[in-house]
Symmetry: C2
Subunit: 258 residues, 2 copies
């Protein structure tokens, strides 16, 4: 019996993403890194800095997915409401975390740890800190919810510090081939191949690069033997259609298969 | 009494976004363009190509938000399930749309409109087409749901063709200033200013550009007079903190205020 899929949801919290002022970069990073350790990013939601929305959404997703990651809203300003929303969602008081307090005291010159910055040392009671090697102010974990910064450089550093706390299943391995056929030419045979390999996820992504039309076909599976077998049949299939194509060197963080 | 806020939700449908293989570019575009016409992108969800998830999510968001936009999953391959999911969500049959059919017949050379491509001419019964000036295969609208392609170039062209069907409220105008102060220095006074202007949304976004630490402060409001007044007070405030700063030339599509 295959392992149960371990699922995760990302909550991107911030008006600046929804207004289009800031381009999110955390989703793609998290999707790749989670896959490395056998956790599937199954959903992501982008929500505004509105307390009721954040609290309700948190309570929905933390009981639906194995892991929840949040990004954004843990700075010192009035619009940074994530920590207090997480406390409300769990029905816990928000209180000064002694270790977070000590870190901020060590970080700021005397007199500069003002009231606003002190907000960044508050967590729901009982939270476990997430280190911030970039700018000190920590994130935190409470049960299956991991609260991280929105700035990608900090978020990524925080994530690397908590990877050991996450328990994944079997990572999906992947292979992809870029073919010189339009999607509509390969669709029927690809659909038939998908029926033959229900355990291999097959995706088809058309592109138009300065008039060069083609399709990237992506196979993903937990079982390397099945992946290799499906890739072999797909290779035959595109050749039979007169398309040919090149198998991509998959990036290591996409789970490069043999 | 202020106009009711007109809300929208974006559903980004596709495993390739969640796996991190493809970076979404549609959210930021839609957030900006909707704001131009007085519609607020209030939430976005990224969901996988799984029928039950797409149908359930559609039925949740189409009854929660004034408008729903979907991107992705309307091509010719087996993993393109958006149109059939929309039909299921509305309890409508999925059928060949005569006008969509005619457009594809005119587009493809004789014999090339195969079964897979014909899938792209199927819509929930009664749907109104959304033109695709890039590659012909149309999107469609049914009630308050607008189904569009995932490829940004096509999605953007589709959106420009439906703008006239959308009824917005008052657009949010915005001003922003980039200051040479860390966020923690400006937080307290900014919070107090926010309390004075509850109708002006104030956001604070710290940055670290090669060691140059600063903060971008963004004000958004429907009323230009209130926006100007708040901006004036914010300008005084950052000067008093010794930070100074430069007001950005806001982009026209962010609703540049006077």
């Amino acid at each position: 019996m295959p392992d149960k899929t371990v699922t995760a949801c990302l909550l991107i919290i911030g008006n600046e993403i929804l207004s289009g002022r800031t381009q999110d970069a955390n989703l793609a990073f998290l999707g790749r890194r989670l896959n490395d350790i056998g956790i599937r990013l199954t959903e992501a939601r982008v929500i505004p800095d509105i307390e009721a929305v954040v609290v309700d959404t948190l309570n929905t997703v933390r009981t639906t997915f194995d892991y929840v990651f949040t990004t954004g809203g843990i700075g010192p300003t009035h619009d940074d409401i994530t920590s207090s929303c997480v406390a409300k969602a769990f029905g816990l008081p928000l209180s000064l975390h002694p270790e977070a307090h000590a870190r901020l005291q060590a970080h700021y010159p005397p007199g500069q740890l003002n009231e606003a910055r002190l907000r960044m040392a508050h967590t729901p009671e009982g939270a476990q800190l997430i280190d911030n090697p970039v700018s000190t102010a920590p994130g935190f974990q409470i049960e299956n919810v991991f609260v991280m910064a929105g700035i990608p450089q900090i978020m990524q550093a925080m994530f690397e510090g908590i990877v050991h706390r996450l328990v994944g299943g079997q990572p999906l391995l992947s292979r992809s081939i870029t073919v010189t056929l339009p999607e509509g030419r390969v669709a029927k045979d690809l659909g038939a191949l998908q029926d033959t390999y229900p355990d291999v996820e097959m995706g088809s992504y058309p592109f138009n690069r300065q008039g060069n039309i083609g399709t990237r076909l992506v196979l993903r599976a937990a079982d390397p033997a099945r992946l290799t077998a499906a890739a072999g049949e797909l290779d035959d299939l595109v050749k039979a259609l007169g398309g040919g194509g090149e198998w991509d060197q998959d990036l290591p963080n996409e789970g490069g298969a043999t």
